[in-house]
Amino acid sequence: MPRSGPLDAALSAGGLHSRLSDAASGVGVTLRGVRRIYPTGLEAVASLDLTIEAGAFVAFLGPSGCGKSTLLRLIAGLDQPTDGSITFSRAASGASVAFVFQDPHLMPWRRVLENAALPLELAGVGERDRKDRAMAALEEVGLADAAVRYPRELSGGMRMRVSLARALVTRPALLLLDEPFAALDELTRRMLDDQLRALWQKLGMTVLFVTHTLSEASYLAERAIVFSKSPARVVADHTLALPREREHALRSTPAFLAEEQTLYEALVRGEAT
């Protein structure tokens, strides 16, 4: 049984700005021949074709520097492909996108609560309402106590969790996560794994997340895509044969360990090419 926490409650509490409220289900993404060559001449992504259905939960894996963050930025529209096209199943402008960067990137002059409330603020949600929701999101990532602190008074993992709360506080149709849990301890991480999956099951948004932890990829995602060394090409595109409802006990089942092994082997292959 997926846990259902206060974040979930907050998100379903309705009353979000109209631009966001129709985003309850996910958005599909199609990449055709996408390349990205940086001004320095470096090819970070090489002619990539990829179709992601609306409501998918996809993990991206690959060696450090292979182009995962670049790809996420391209999909979010924060960067433009040098070649190729990226299309969405419905108008991306109407759908809301949330992004957790690899680094927290909080606003140092705002307290934690105000940082987490930013997307709601930008969407025009009233002050009371957005404070309540931001507080709920902070509670969910275990930071209710730190709501009035400034980012510089937080630990590294806490900052990353604020950044996560900031992404989850809206009801995004497309959620892009760049190693959101890397700086977190095992327990916090497992708690958030469950939160995230429960949220996804409830709202059906599309989730694309980068992770380096094989077990996390297997536990969370429905589909895992493994990239080669830079420039990113797909080495493996693997649909995980695991039940929809997942609990921690699953981690020690042979089926789970087999999936982990599959991913590991794909990684090794990608490194070798």
């Binding site: 631009r19 979010a76 924060l78 002059w109 930013l118 603020e121 930008l122 510089r152």
Partner: protein
């Protein structure tokens, strides 16, 4: 109390030391008083004509404040406008240097004709002299925003105004405060120069007039007293800016954290 002492003691000691050296030097080297009077003579002159300096400080201070306020408002607005596009910046930013290089005396006739003599022309002079550092610093600040935060705002479809108010301006505050620090002193000198050329309407003469007339009459003690009073106005504005800066940056910016 201890914190206040820690803050107030060093500048007080520095000032005391400086005045002492000045006094001793002028006496020891027998510097003619019409060239550099000892501080005691300056003080005596100031005490002899307290009202001249007081009235001067009031008049000059008011004009400097008005000019400074306009500089802040216009300088920040101009920088915001220039920051909206690289092309706009390239087209107009270089010409704002003009404000820095134009001698007030050369445009004094226009100032007086357009704004009328006295406070208004003088405040405009203060404005012209002090606005550029605010533009330059604010622009630099707006340009230095964390690109990832900019991306985030774009992602959430933030309007131009929201990006400005919630992202760009707050993160430019350290630079803006630096610009204001520079502008504080400049607005005082701009006022004084303005008074030199356009300053005397009926009544209360500003420090610029006191400087000029005492200069002409070689009342160097009064001259120094007036110049130091002007410096005092500059310090006051500067201290004001510092206080505001500390208030705004205390909790989050490296430049104010290790205090």
């Amino acid at each position: 109390m201890g914190a206040f002492l820690e803050r107030a003691l060093p500048p007080t000691l520095a000032l005391g030391g400086f005045l002492a050296i000045w006094e001793v030097l002028t006496r020891a080297l027998d510097v003619p008083a019409y060239l550099v009077p000892p501080p005691s003579a300056v003080l005596a002159a100031a005490l002899q004509e307290p009202s001249t300096l007081l009235v001067g400080a009031m008049t000059t201070g008011r004009a400097a404040l008005v000019g400074f306020a306009f500089s802040c408002a216009f300088g920040i607005l101009a920088a915001i406008t220039l920051a909206t596009s690289r092309r706009l910046e390239r087209a107009f930013y270089p010409y704002t240097v003009f404000l820095q290089t134009v001698p007030i005396v050369a445009i004094a006739p226009l100032l007086v004709l357009w704004f009328g003599p006295g406070l208004r022309a003088v405040a405009v002079s203060a404005f012209i002299v002090s606005v550029f550092p605010i533009i330059a610093n604010t622009l630099a600040g707006l340009r230095s925003v964390d690109p990832a935060l900019r991306d985030l705002f774009r992602l959430y479809g933030a309007s131009r105004l929201a990006t400005l108010v919630k992202l760009e301006l707050p993160s430019a505050i350290p630079e803006i405060v630096t610009g204001l620090r520079v502008a504080a002193g400049l607005s005082v000198i701009g006022t004084i120069v303005g008074e030199f050329v356009a300053g005397f309407a009926e009544g209360a003469p500003g420090l610029g007039i006191v400087v000029l007339t005492s200069y002409r009459q070689l009342r160097t003690d009064v001259l120094f007293a007036a110049v130091l009073t002007a410096a005092g106005l500059g310090f006051t504005l500067f201290a004001l800016v510092n206080a505001v800066g500390r208030l705004l940056l205390r909790r989050w910016h490296a430049s104010e954290l290790s205090r």
